[in-house]
Amino acid sequence: TQLLEQSPQFLSIQEGENLTVYCNSSSVFSSLQWYRQEPGEGPVLLVTVVTGGEVKKLKRLTFQFGDARKDSSLHITAAQPGDTGLYLCAGARDKLVFGAGTILRVKS
């Protein structure tokens, strides 16, 4: 049983489409981190959200932390092939707990 549930597990879309990835839990986290991982490499931090209701933008990526600090979402506007990769959310408690990840494939 995953403490952090990510959905969807896999997403294949055309270039220019929008998408949202969800990260849900019944537990409260002190913060929520989003990582992106490319094949053959380790995860790289995209953003950390700390405050309930917080919204952070990174170019075409918008991250939101739920008001109760139990869930988060990642929205990508006008996806590009370069966005292809594995997206991982990770919740901070005494240790960092990772979701199973969402594999995103953007076709040109």
Binding site: S30, G42, D94, L96, A100, G101
Partner: protein, 115 residues
């Protein structure tokens, strides 16, 4: 900047063999971690260390051992390799603890197959 360096990148072992996965970081981070990544399962914490001389078990420690004699190095030892240990192993380090807001910095992984 080197960051977190893992060696080897790939390895094939026979059942029952042992090996050490090496990890070194040059960021002077106190916290270091070992994870395994299996398809559809995310990253599972094997062991972690909060500083030289201090290690503790994570979620899936069975079949593994670690040591932390210096701040820079955090090797992971597999004794009596089993097929269930076939996975991709990631080492990470951070300035603050896993419960803090500090990011973890990952190496590029070691892909290990046990046959």
């Amino acid at each position: 900047n080197a960051g977190v360096t893992q060696t080897p990148k790939f390895r094939i072992l026979k059942i029952g063999q042992s090996m050490t996965l090496q990890c070194t970081q040059d960021m002077n981070h106190n916290y270091m971690y070992w994870y395994r990544q299996d398809p559809g399962m995310g990253l599972k914490l094997i062991y972690y260390s909060v500083g030289a001389g201090i290690t503790d078990k994570g979620e899936v420690p069975n079949g593994y051992n670690v040591s932390r004699s210096t701040t820079e190095d955090f090797p992971l030892r597999l004794e009596l390799a089993a097929p269930s240990q076939t996975s991709v192993y990631f080492c990470a380090s951070s300035y603050g603890s896993g419960g803090s807001n500090q990011p973890q910095h990952f190496g590029d992984g070691t892909r290990l197959s046990i046959l």
